[in-house]
Amino acid sequence: MSDTFIQSLQITALGMGLVFAAIILLWGLMAAMTALFRERDVAPSPPVPSLEGRGDGNEGKARAAAIAVATAIAAQRQPSAHPLPEPPTAIVSAWQLGMRTRQMSQKGNLGHRHR
């Protein structure tokens, strides 16, 4: 057998070993995390569309609507964890405020558009 091939065999053994090692480690960590970080609030799926179960335009539309709503809710839900009763916008920098605001108006429109 060629020298290269023997090396390849070593690589395969070592490589798959490491891959499984890493994955099993991750498995443990995921189990630990889901166990440790208990449910106070279940994570809302983020406003950006996730990837599963999308078939056709209609489904897409449905989703979009769902997302719009989810976004709107999330917008309210977001815990303003500030000592002062300030609206979140007050403690962001100039342009971020701009961002936040436009996001809101977008959400507004979204919600509005699909209502």
Binding site: S2, T4, F5, Q7, S8, L9, I11, T12, L14, G15, M16, L18, V19, F20, A21, A22, I23, I24, L25, L26, W27, G28, L29, M30, A31, M33, T34, A35, F37, R38, E39, R40, D41, V42, A43, P44, S45, P46, P47, V48, P49, S50, L51, E52, G53, A74, Q78, M99, Q103
Partner: protein
């Protein structure tokens, strides 16, 4: 007066270049008519055409060379794409059923199986490894690894990676039917996922980045980019950055990545080298790449059957086929086959768990391979 500038076009144009134009056209046809990964195969095809009209990544003063040096040699483009991909992946199905991760590992055997065969066929180690990484069935990973180990093979490897990915629905089903009994395909899996807290989905990308970077440093940039995108997505407070990652950044990066890859497909590297003659290696790469997909699937299914046996028939082996990554169509395909056998058998969430695990495992495997081979070469 010297008109070489005018005649240059025809002077340098060979029959091999002409053939490459046809190949570029064929890629564009697959992209448009067959919708095989159009966002990548179209730019690759067009870039391939330009490469054979004096605008290759190897021509002085070619604008594609500028993009190639700035985006591929720096590895930036595949990483930028991964930031966008990460911002599009939802890891909840995996977090809800962590054991599905194992199937992701099993789906990487194709990488090493192909490496073995390629080296047996006489490919030097760096080339054999680059070919094997087609088995990661993940474009950016394949491009990232190949750029470091055997950049001259970027063209055929990227083409193989992306065009076969489009063929998953054609390649996998027969293998799945062949390797599983109807009884097995009918297995139902109860879905009682643990609820996933917000803290978990936010901490997950950080933890994965740390662990993988320590175990497989060569995979660090890839996993970091993927997880950066994912935390932008899950943070909820940086929607603008998340949107930028999923749109501007990934669109522009994809266009330039495709063009640069295509720009490496010059006749002498892809088809016919005046010195060494026909580039059989290109055909071999395409062939071995297809094999990688098959081995991945077979290994995944075998491991699925193993889990089915180990759990006393609580796991449907079909989900073994989605460990190969190729997210998300592999996952959807398995779920679809289960539905075909039994219209009430829903295993989509399990499939998606295994599928996202495959995405992670592919990056890890690519990094591990890169590290080991770099140490050997």
């Amino acid at each position: 007066m010297d008109l070489s500038g005018l005649l240059a076009g025809f002077a340098d144009f060979t029959w091999a270049n002409a053939l490459m134009l046809v190949i570029g056209g064929a890629l564009i046809y697959l992209a448009i008519a067959k919708e095989y990964e159009p966002v990548l195969l179209l730019p690759i095809g067009f870039g391939c055409i330009l490469a054979n009209l004096g605008m290759s990544a190897y021509d002085e003063e070619s604008f594609l060379r500028v993009i190639y040096e700035a985006g591929i040699e720096t590895e930036l483009l595949p990483l930028l794409i991964f930031i966008g991909v990460g911002a599009m992946i939802d890891f909840r199905p995996l977090l809800a059923q962590p054991r599905m991760a194992l199937l992701g590992a099993a789906g990487q055997f194709g990488i090493f199986g192909t490496l073995l065969l390629a080296s047996a066929l006489g490919f030097p180690l760096n080339e054999a490894a680059s070919i094997g990484v087609i088995g990661a069935i993940d474009g950016p990973t394949a491009i990232f690894v190949t750029t470091k180990l055997a950049p001259h093979l970027l063209g055929p490897i990227a083409v193989a990676a992306y065009s076969y990915m489009s063929l998953i629905p054609i390649i996998q089903p027969p293998i799945m039917r062949l390797m599983t009994t109807r009884r097995e395909r009918l297995i139902r899996m109860d879905y009682a996922p643990r609820p996933v807290s917000r803290l978990t989905v936010v901490a997950f990308p950080i933890v994965v980045t740390v662990i993988v970077s320590l175990i497989a440093p060569s995979a660090a940039p890839l996993i970091a980019a993927l997880m950066l995108g994912n935390i932008l997505r899950e943070a909820l407070v940086v929607e603008r950055l998340s949107k930028a990652a999923q749109n501007e950044i990934i669109n522009i990066a994809t266009l330039f990545l495709g063009l640069s890859i295509g720009a490496t497909m010059t006749a002498e590297r892809f088809l016919y080298d005046p010195v060494t003659g026909i580039q059989w290696q290109t055909l071999m790469v395409l062939g071995l790449g297809l094999l990688a997909f098959v081995v991945d699937t077979v290994a995944g299914l075998l491991f699925g059957k193993l889990m089915a046996f180990a759990t006393g028939g609580k796991v449907n082996p079909l989900i073994g086929a989605c460990g190969i990554s190729a997210f998300p169509m592999a996952g959807r395909l398995s779920a679809k086959m289960a539905l075909e056998e039994d219209p009430d058998n829903f295993i989509l969430m399990h499939a998606m768990g295994a599928n996202t695990a495959g995405q992670l495992a592919s990056v890890i495997a690519g990094g591990v391979l890169l590290a080991i081979v770099t140490g050997m070469v």
